[in-house]
Structure formats: structure tokens, C-alpha cells
């Protein structure tokens, strides 16, 4: 069974390719990339003229909510949202119910993904049992079961001694520990960023320092242990400085940024719309500028959505009682193309790299490349497509987005996973 994607502009940062090429796929793998390839007999042909053909996009920070919170999202709906948004693979966080802190939960997620997944699923195991921050989860067995990283995301492991042990213990597995960097003693009960807007709105604030204190700690622990620590949803200019400094000193620290921390500031909270409430909170213009600069220069390694589905009832009430987080899989690519690439703030090739090659390298995932033999995961973009974000049309079970009504030019056009076009 073969498939040829013809006449598209192929951007493949892992192989330094940028030009009009054909991509030949056979048996679920990339067979060849080149100009005017002969089409094998019986092959399906996708005419991608005017489109942009990229290695499949990978979102390493997603909450699929299954098992336990299926009213928000499931593996089936979450991966359909991923494929609709141009992602061929996601890594899912461990804060399910039960928590993914033991092999049976990992097995369950992988089985669900095998049966119902529209995109690849890479589970992330918990660092601590029950995400309680008290005892290590069975990390070796989780790694063996297929967990690609460890994280208590949603919670910060406040016990530095325990976190150090987690980093040391996981060294032989070659997978990173992902930090939700937020010192809870500095931001207890917060609803938004601490600053002039929180003062005006009378909402409890989380200072940038609550994040930066933990980023600093985790960089020091990575230096101490030699482990790879990855900072999830980095959001402040100060945290950028710390990561930049850590990298310059050779510490194995990497970081991701979300589309909302690139595109929105605390000003959005003035509406008291709970779809502007997330952890970490939306920051200031200075911070969005710093994370964008860091994304462009590689200090921040990749983009991840922190796709966090919640039911309407969890988001429609009082701001301070609302759940944290927003969905991101179905809006990320279009937002980034329209708001960063189109105005010239980020080169297209850099965006493609930060969504494919770089996250794949970071978690040692297959994919992120169109080299012969690589899995045939391909994301095709339409640079001219204009869409207005309509949450009612999301494939996700949840609708919690602050981007409803935004009109965006450019977006995902076709998603190919394992050599097959995903049809939703």
C-alpha cells in the first residue's frame, strides 16, 4: 500500500529540506523524498500543490483525561482533536483517575490508543504515587511499559529531595523528568498573574517568582544529578533567563511554551471569562515577548499546547472557582501560523521544527523527520485557508477556549499517521 504526496513544499528541518518535492510512502514508512518521483502502480496520490508538507506534528503536553474523566475527554476524542489540529502524535499527562502511576494504567491508555486512537499516543508516567509528592511511583516499570517521560504535571513536586531522587533513579531509562514549576507556597489560591491587573480585579495573583523559584531549583537539581529536566509551559521572562543560563552552562534543561503564553496576556482576564484562567497564568507583554524570542533562538525547544479539556460547568461560573486550563489541539497550528508566521515574528521553518523535529528529539520519539525509514507521519498545512474558530465544531469533547471567534489564515489541511490519511 503506497501513497504519494506530490508537488507540495516540503519543510523537513531534521533533513535540512525546504522545497517543492514529492513524498513517497510505503508500508507505513517514508520511502523517499525527491522531485518528481515516479508514482508506483496503484498508489494513492495526494496533490499538495500550494500546500506545506511537514513531518507529523507532535504535542508533548496533552491531557486526554482517560481513564477517569471521560466526561471531559477520551483517548478517542482527544486523538481526533489532535489529528484535526494537525498533530500526528501526543504525549499524555498522568493526572488521570486512577493516576498513571502504575503499569496497568499505562497499558490501558496504550490499548485504548491502539483500538480507538486517531493519532499516536505516548503516555507520561507520574513521578510520585498518586501525584501526592510523597513517594516515587514505580518508575522503572512505567518506563518499560512505554512511558516516554515522568511528570506530576498539574502539581509541582515541592519536596526537592524526593525530586532529586526521581531524577537520579530515572537516569538509566534515558527519559526526562518534566517539571510543572510552581512553588505552591508562593501562589496559594491564585487565579491569575500577580500584577497591576490582579490588583485592579481583586483576584489573588501568582507572582512570576513562583515559577522562577522552581525553574531555578530544577535546573540546579539537573546539574547535580546529570538528569534531563524539561520545563513544562514556561511562561515568564525570568524563567527564560534561567533556562538560557542553564543551557549555556551545559545543564540538560529543555523547555516548552504554549500558544496561549505566546499570544495572550493577563489583560485577557479583565473579562472574568474563565477561559482565560490557566496554570501557569497568562503573564505580561514583557513575558510574551521574552518567550517568543526564546522560542525563535532555541532557548525554548518546542511548542506544546497543554490541551486541558474541561466541561462547561467547570468553566462557566465564578472565576476564582473555575478549573484551570484550556483546550489547544485544534487551535494551536492555525493560531501560530496566523499570529506568528504571517506577521514575520517567527520563520515558518522554525515553527515546523518546534512542532516536529524538536519535540521528537526531546522525548526520543519516533517521527519528527521525513528521512527514509521514518514512520510515515505527515502534517500538511494550507497556508491560505481562512477559518473562524468555532468551538461547536471541535472534535474534542470540551469547548473551553479563549480563542472562539478569532479569524485565522492558514491551518492544518491533512494529517497522515502511519501512512494513512486520517479521515474524521
Amino acid at each position: 500500500m503506497s501513497l504519494v504526496v506530490t508537488r507540495g513544499r516540503v519543510i523537513d528541518p531534521a533533513n535540512a529540506t525546504d522545497g517543492v518535492q514529492d513524498v513517497l510512502i510505503a508500508d507505513g514508512k517514508i520511502e523517499r523524498v525527491g522531485a518528481r518521483l515516479p508514482v508506483p502502480a496503484g498508489a494513492e496520490v495526494v496533490d499538495a500543490a500550494g500546500k506545506i508538507v511537514c513531518p507529523g506534528f507532535i504535542d508533548i503536553h496533552v491531557h486526554l483525561r482517560e481513564p477517569g474523566h471521560e466526561y471531559k475527554e477520551t483517548v478517542a476524542t482527544g486523538t481526533r482533536a489532535a489529528a484535526a489540529g494537525g498533530f500526528t502524535a501526543v504525549a499524555c499527562m498522568a493526572n488521570t483517575s486512577p493516576v498513571n502511576d502504575n503499569r496497568s494504567v499505562t497499558d490501558y491508555i496504550l490499548a485504548k490508543a491502539q483500538d480507538e486512537g486517531a493519532a499516536r499516543v505516548h503516555p507520561i508516567g507520574a513521578v510520585t504515587r498518586g501525584l501526592l509528592g510523597e513517594e516515587l511511583a514505580e518508575l522503572a516499570e512505567l518506563a518499560e511499559a512505554g512511558c516516554v517521560a515522568f511528570s506530576d504535571d498539574g502539581k509541582c513536586v515541592m519536596n526537592a529531595g524526593l525530586y532529586r531522587h526521581a531524577m537520579e533513579y530515572t537516569l538509566p531509562f534515558g527519559v526526562p523528568v518534566i517539571s510543572h514549576a510552581e512553588d505552591t507556597t508562593l501562589c496559594h489560591g491564585y487565579a491569575m498573574n500577580e500584577g497591576v491587573v490582579s490588583t485592579q480585579l481583586g483576584l489573588p495573583g501568582a507572582p512570576a517568582a513562583a515559577e522562577e523559584v522552581m525553574v531555578a531549583r530544577d535546573i540546579l537539581l539537573a546539574e547535580l544529578t546529570g538528569a534531563h529536566v524539561h520545563i513544562a509551559h514556561l511562561s515568564t521572562a525570568g524563567a527564560v533567563r534561567l533556562v538560557r543560563d542553564g543551557k549555556a552552562r551545559g545543564v540538560r534543561v529543555t523547555a516548552e511554551v504554549t500558544p496561549h503564553h505566546l499570544l495572550l496576556t493577563e489583560e485577557a482576564v479583565r473579562t472574568f471569562d474563565a477561559n482565560t484562567k490557566m496554570a501557569p497564568p497568562l503573564r505580561t507583554k514583557r513575558d510574551t515577548e521574552a518567550v517568543l524570542e526564546a522560542l525563535a533562538d532555541g532557548t525554548i525547544d518546542c511548542i506544546a499546547t497543554d490541551h486541558a479539556p474541561h466541561a462547561l460547568a467547570e468553566k462557566e461560573g465564578e472565576f476564582d472557582h473555575a478549573a484551570f486550563g484550556i483546550v489547544g489541539l485544534e487551535t494551536a497550528v492555525a493560531l501560530l501560523l496566523d499570529r506568528l508566521v504571517r506577521p514575520g515574528l517567527l520563520p515558518l521553518a522554525t515553527l515546523v521544527s518546534r512542532l516536529s523535529r524538536d519535540p521528537a528529539r526531546l522525548l526520543n520519539l519516533p517521527g519528527g523527520s521525513l528521512a527514509p525509514g521514518a514512520p510515515a507521519d505527515v502534517t500538511i498545512l494550507d497556508p491560505d485557508r481562512e477559518v473562524t474558530v468555532d468551538p461547536a465544531r471541535f472534535r474534542s469533547k470540551s469547548r473551553n477556549t479563549p480563542f472562539a471567534g478569532w479569524t485565522l489564515t492558514g491551518g492544518p489541511w491533512m494529517t497522515i499517521v502511519g501512512g494513512k490519511v486520517v479521515r474524521l
Binding site: 487565579a191 500577580e194 500584577g195 497591576v196 490582579s198 490588583t199 485592579q200 480585579l201 481583586g202 483576584l203 495573583g205 507572582p207 473579562t271 472574568f272 460547568a313 462557566e316 461560573g317 465564578e318 472565576f319 476564582d320 472557582h321
Partner: protein
Amino acid sequence: MRWTRKHLLTMRELDASEIVLLVDTAASLQEIATREIKKVPALRGKTIVNLFYEPSTRTRTSFEIAGKWLSADVINFSASGSSTTKGESFIDTAKNIAAMSPDVVIVRHSSAGAAELLARTLPCSIVNAGDGAHEHPTQALLDLLTIREKKAHFDGLHVAIVGDIAHSRVARSDIHGMRKLGVTVTVAGPPTLIPPFVQELGVKVSYRLEDAIRDVDVIMLLRLQHERMTNGLIPSLREYSRYWGLTLDKLAKHARPDVLIMHPGPVNRGIELAPEVADGPYSVILGQVAKGVAVRMGVLLLLAGSKADAP
């Protein structure tokens, strides 16, 4: 000047002429309290719901009396807790009340933004009677009415607001209202009770009571909640009252002889305010309460009265 707004949500959104209209309207309604029959027919046939999610005596009663003197039907709905506690969510409760077609819903809630949320959700007029640490516009209006009566004008006045600014909706509404009318405002308290970047609201900041009260026309004291101590924001009530409690001695030494002492209540006697000061000649605290009814009558009249009734 005509009133055009559907809701009264914040002082921040009002301009100076709107604030003056509200204060003038309240001033003109004060004499109703002195009548033998305290009732005018302005809001006959209108329904007003007091939706109170926090315990409140003075504000709820004040709105209730204001509505009744204007001949509206006033219904009190007190709910404890919020959507996080067991039972119906705030939005569901509000929608149920809206289904009974009130003209005005007055809301008091512990969450900042609760009034905005209702204004976005319900078809009727909304009055914010205090939302978390955000705003309490009718309190600011009655403070302004009190000050104008005593000082005759706002020009060149200087007000010190002392105490827990960080958690105070009264402070925020007062700051917006006063600054728009040209009043100089100094906020004072221990740094842990001063919110970050408060200077950007156009106020001065002082960390010493003696400096803050020097040469001001009005001292507004705020209630200190006891939980500020357990949160580690102040070491003890004893230390707070020693450095931040206003006593006759400190007044005599540092303040002007014609200074006004105000407090939105309820007063922690002996903590932020010595009893002799609260009951003394400088104090206009009970006058504030009396003005509260007139202010709320004015607000209800402007929001729910027919255009012909507006002054």
C-alpha cells in the same frame, strides 16, 4: 447629563460626570428619610432581588430599605457558599431567579467578577453590592456623598486609606471614584497588605501611619480580617493595632484638627480604631450608614426608574 448604563458594576468604568450624577441623585433623595411617610411611588410595580452570597447586615438592609422606600417589591435571597459547595451553582441559581423576571438583581458574592458574570448572563439590570476583593461601588458613592457634605467639594482634598488595601473591595472602589473626582489618595499599611503595583492606580503609598495621616482631610480605616494573621501577612493583632491602630493620641499629634474619620464597617474596635475615635467628634461613621440608603435609592432609581422619574 443622562444616565445610560444598564448596570452598576464598578467605579472603574464610570466617568466623573456619571459619578457626580449618582452622588447628586442620592443627595436629592436624602430628605425622604426625614418624612413621616417614607415612601415615594417611583419604582411601584418593579421587582428587586437582593442576591446575597455573603453574610451582610448593613448593605443588604440598606438596599432593602432603599427599594421599599421607592415602592419596589424587594425579595431577599441569601445563599451561603458557592458553586464549590454542595448544591446548585451560582449561575443556575441566578438563571432561576431571572426566570421570575426581576427588574434589578443586587448581588453580593465572595468571588471577584461575580457581578460581571451575572450582567453577561441575565437579562435584567445588575448592581454590584461587593464582589470579592474587586469592587463595592455603592460604598464608594456613599463615601463620596459623606465627604462632599462635610467638605462641600472634592477639589484639592487628600484622603488616606489605611489598612488591608490588598483584600479590600472598598479601597479599590474608593480609589477609582476619588481619583476621578480629583481627590489625592494615599494608601497606607504594612507592605504585606498593600497590593502590588497599586501606584499604577494613581495613589501614593505610605508604610507609616503617622506619615499617612499628616495633612489629610479624611482618614478612611479598613477592617482587618483576623485570617490575615494565620496567613502570615501580619505577626499579630497586637502588633497591628500598636502600629496601625488609630488612637486619639496619634490623631492629636499627627492629623489636622478638622480631619474626618471614616470606616466602611463593621469596625474592629480596639484593632484598627480606638473606641474613643470611632465614637468621637471626628467620626462620621454612622453618617456613612445613613447616606447608604440614599445612595442605593439613587442607584435603583437611575437603573430601574422610568425616564420621567429621573431628576
